[in-house]
Amino acid sequence: MEIGNIGEKYVYSETELDRAEGEAIESLKAHSQQPIPDPDRWLDEELRHNVLLTSVDAMLNWARRSSLWTVLAFPACCAFELIATAASRYDISRFGMEILRASPRQADLMITAGTLTWKMAPQIRRIYDQMAEPKWVIAMGACAISGGIFSGSYSVVPGYNRIIPVDVYVPGCPPRPEALLYGIKMLHDKISKRSIVEKSKQK
């Protein structure tokens, strides 16, 4: 071989790592045949009559929704509309959200921008599990809602809600930055309806 050396072995055992990854993917696929139901009850009539929001709740909710920090996990095309939303024209910094955190432990919002494949699914589940409570998920784009233009393919998960619970769905392929900002506003409305009393009753 005159150019480069391509036949060398690695220090670690790559077949073991690949096999472990493959088993994790297959077991996640077997457990994700039904979509996960919506996490917080949006329009539960009974709840609205029984729970009053106190001023502590109002202040906490205002603080939480005024600076949601997004975790960086964008596989595909919608990522560029998310970046364009964060750029100077559709400034997302006016909502306090210009920080895109690399570490999930410091984030509380996941905007899923891109198609999810079965190979990537265990990693997204792991990132979601690493985020601290309270946390929310916005499913951005048609691929995140139902698989989009790629639904029916052998390697595409039909929507993120098979793997993680989703709060807001923003349709579009890709959604315009204005649509994403509308979705974020909807999430703000949802957050402002939370109450710590209700959360402690759930546990």
Binding site: I6, D18, I25, E26, S153, Y154, S155
Partner: protein, 149 residues
Amino acid sequence: MTVTLSGKEIAGQLEEQFPESIVESCPDSLLVKSEFLLPVATFLKTTPGLDFGYLTSITAVDYYDYFEVVYQLTSMKHNHSLVLKTRCYGRDNPTVTSVIGLWRGAEFQEREIYDLMGISFNGHPHLKHIFLWESFQGHPLRKDYHSGA
């Protein structure tokens, strides 16, 4: 303008060097037997006047009786191109010799064909899955693959 060389012109030169290697030569492609693939490819790369030093792409197509592996070769020196094909039979474990020793650009493309079509390449150092995961059953790009989901 990149001239696409006719298979018939090259067939003449190849017949002298490797008799009985050519199955079919049409105006736009050249089909050789799979045993002769590596010698023919080496000849095409090293002969002055041909100098096919740039491998544009490798693909495989599933025609139900056989698999056809298609090589698009280009020569930057003389600005001409050629389409080289070979066939392998059998659906259980079709095998073709790897050209990675001549053109390193074949590394990922041959792994992709192995992953999605199931054709093995002799001589490839890291032939393993590239796009799909380890325990995936079947080869999706074959015509008789039906996904369950």
